[in-house]
Structures are given as C-alpha cells and as structure tokens.
Amino acid sequence: MSKQRKAVSLISGGLDSMLATKVIQDQGIHVEGINFYTGFCVEGHTHAIRKKDKEKQKKNSSLWVAEQLGIKLHIIDISEEYKDIVLNPKHGYGQNLNPCLDCKIDMVARAWQWCMDNDFDFVITGEVIGQRPKSQRKETMPIIARESKIEDRLLRPLCAQHLTETLPEREGWVNRDELFDFHGRNRKPQLALAKKLGFDEWSQPAGGCCFLTDESYSNKLQDMWDARGERNYEVDDIMLLKVGRHIRPAKHFKLIVSREQGENNFMRGYRPMYSYLYPTSHGGPLTLIDGTPTEEDILTAARVVARFSQGRDADEVAVNYVAKHNEGEQELKVKPMPVAEIPDDWYIH
C-alpha cells in the first residue's frame, strides 16, 4: 500500500489558495492549512476597533476557507520574527513598504520547516504567474523555491503547467495533467474553476490583506522611523498606526487622536505606556502622545485635542494631561486651535 502523501497549504483566506488546496485534495493528498500572523494583517482589526464597523464583524477568512475545505488550519504568530523581513528586505519593497517577495520566501520557508517537523511531504500555494507585480512573476517563482530552501517540493497547482515539474509531480503523488496553466491578472479562469468545484462564496483579500500595501499606513510607518531616527518597531507601534488621526507638530512628538468611541476604547489600553490628554469640560477624543514633548508642546497638543472635541467652538476647553508613568493629572485650560492654524503637513496620511 502506498504511503498517504501529505501537503501543507498556505491559506490566505482568498480564492486562489482555496482553489489550489481543493485541487490537490481531489487528487487524494491529505492537506492541512497554515496561516501566518505578521501583525500587519488587515482582517478584523479595524472592524474590532472602530465602533461604526462593529456591524461588519465577520468571519476570519482563512478559518472559513478551512471549514469549507474540511481541513485543519494552523495559525502561527510570527509577528516578532517578521520584523527582520519588514526592516531588511533583501529584495526590496513594492509600491509602499510591502516586502512581498521576501515575505513569500519567508512564509514558504516556515511552511517547509513545519512540513519537516510534522512529517508532511510538500507545500502548496495559490500563486499564479503574473498576478502580483512584486512577488508573483515568472522570474520570482524559482527565487522563492530556491531561497526558501524548499526547492522542488513547492507546488503551485494553479500555474504548475507553466513551471518546471516538481517532486510531487515527478513521483506521481499528483497528476500534472490535472493541474492548471493560469497566468496574468485575469480572474476568469479562477472564477470558472470555482464554479466547477462548487464554490459560490469566497473573500477577496486581493493584496489588500496586509497593511504594508497601504500607502497611508506605510507613510505613518516611515514617519515613525524618521522621527525616531531608527528603523525599528514594537508590535504595539504597528497596532497604533492602524487607529486614529496621526498629527505630528514637531519631529520629537506626535499625537494619535482617536476618531470615535471604538478607537477611544481601544486606545485606553495604551494609557500606561504613553502620555495622554483628554478633554474634561466637553466630550472629545483620547489622545496619546508619542515622543518627548516640552511644556509648550503639551499646550499645543491640548489645543489640538480641544479642536477635535465638542468644545471646538468654545472660548475655552479644559483638557487633562497625564504624563507617562505618572499617576497625577494636570488640568490645562486652552483655546481650541482653529482648523486653519493646524498646518496640513502636521497630518500624516
């Protein structure tokens, strides 16, 4: 009796990885899914934070895909180790601070290590040649296989017929003739295959699953590095880049002004780690201060907070200031800063 071959599939939650997995399952391979959490994943975060998005609470796409396919899904937190990919991408960035090729190499390498640790035979991905400008090109496919050290145990079922035969094909574990030759950005072949396989619902991350592909987010990350004079981050930093208005009156301090109640609630959890301000005479936003403001800066910050409070048109707004690691509060009475006095280039977006 031949050995039951086993593959692990990189599950993003989108259509392509779902199709690639199903195609291989249908060839009698035991497949389990793997999904890596980098800290930059878009899914769920803004919904969880912003109150107005609460109604949009939705399923986790990768778990949902696993359920549809009837496979186990292993979700692995690589947010700490992933820093090196973001900070030092050997192959550089895409349009923003997205290190897509290095990211793919890293994830395939981790999936291959997982295979070796768990007695699995090969890795599959939903990659399609020509679909992504940075990481899914004909010339990047062998780079990913080589640099992840997986070599010919990486199978891309959706475009396999455009690529050199892999070990699972050569050994007859899978039938190459039943794999596909998809290429380019045209989604029609995937949609047709989805229909043939009986899928009528899927999520569409389509590159939008990572905050690093977002221009505004990347600008905030770059601004943080510039201001601190070093390219580094903690996981809490990258969480806070997802929320609030980011306003930088000077290089040495930045304000993170919550935009609504949900963000206010989320940011409250960060009060022990930051200096912060909040209006007391009127309703208004919790504002965290990142950096080292002077006394004059704190007054400026309080005026900005007052501008975003319900007292924006009042002559005076009371704003409490709490210094980092200091339990005492200082009450500041300030005139709200007129909109016209907040320079456009203070806003990081």
Binding site: Y37, C41, E43, G44, H45, H47, A48, I49, K54, Q57, K58, K59, N60, L63, W64, A66, E67, I71, K72, L73, H74, I75, I76, D77, M239, G269
Partner: protein, 76 residues
C-alpha cells in the same frame, strides 16, 4: 479532566484564537479551557477553530465588555 483559563482580553483577532490553539496543544483530551476575550470577532473565530480541529465548544457567553468561551479538548 482539569479546567484551565486563558486571558485573551485586549488582544485583537486573530491573537485570541492563536493563544487558544497554543494553549490547547499543551492540554489533555477531556480538559476544559475557559477563554476570556474582548474582541467580538472571537465569537466567530474560536468556534470556527474548534470546528476545524474537532474540539467541543461547550459554551459562549457575552456581556457588555467581555466574552467567555469554554472548550472541551478532543485529541485524535
């Protein structure tokens, strides 16, 4: 059978489900795990994760500021 607790409060998804997964890996069949979370997305994620891994969802409870999910561990 023993009962264990996991504090996943103030963690955004998918971290509560990752912590649940990692905790359950160290438990025995029949053990119960009670997970305390605040991200409402966990009401989708943890039950879905239990279904794909074959663990039993014993109960879910939601109050204004907390979600409590109890799981019974099932091992192959």
């Amino acid at each position: 059978m023993s009962k264990h607790e996991l504090n996943a409060r103030n963690l955004l998804r998918p971290l509560p489900v990752i912590r649940t997964q990692n905790k359950i890996a160290s438990l025995d069949a029949g053990d119960h795990l009670v997970v305390y979370c605040t991200d409402p997305g966990t009401l989708h994620d943890i039950p879905a994760w239990c279904r794909v891994h074959g663990h039993t969802l014993v109960s879910t409870a939601e109050s204004a500021d907390e979600i409590i999910i109890e799981i019974e561990v099932v091992k192959d």
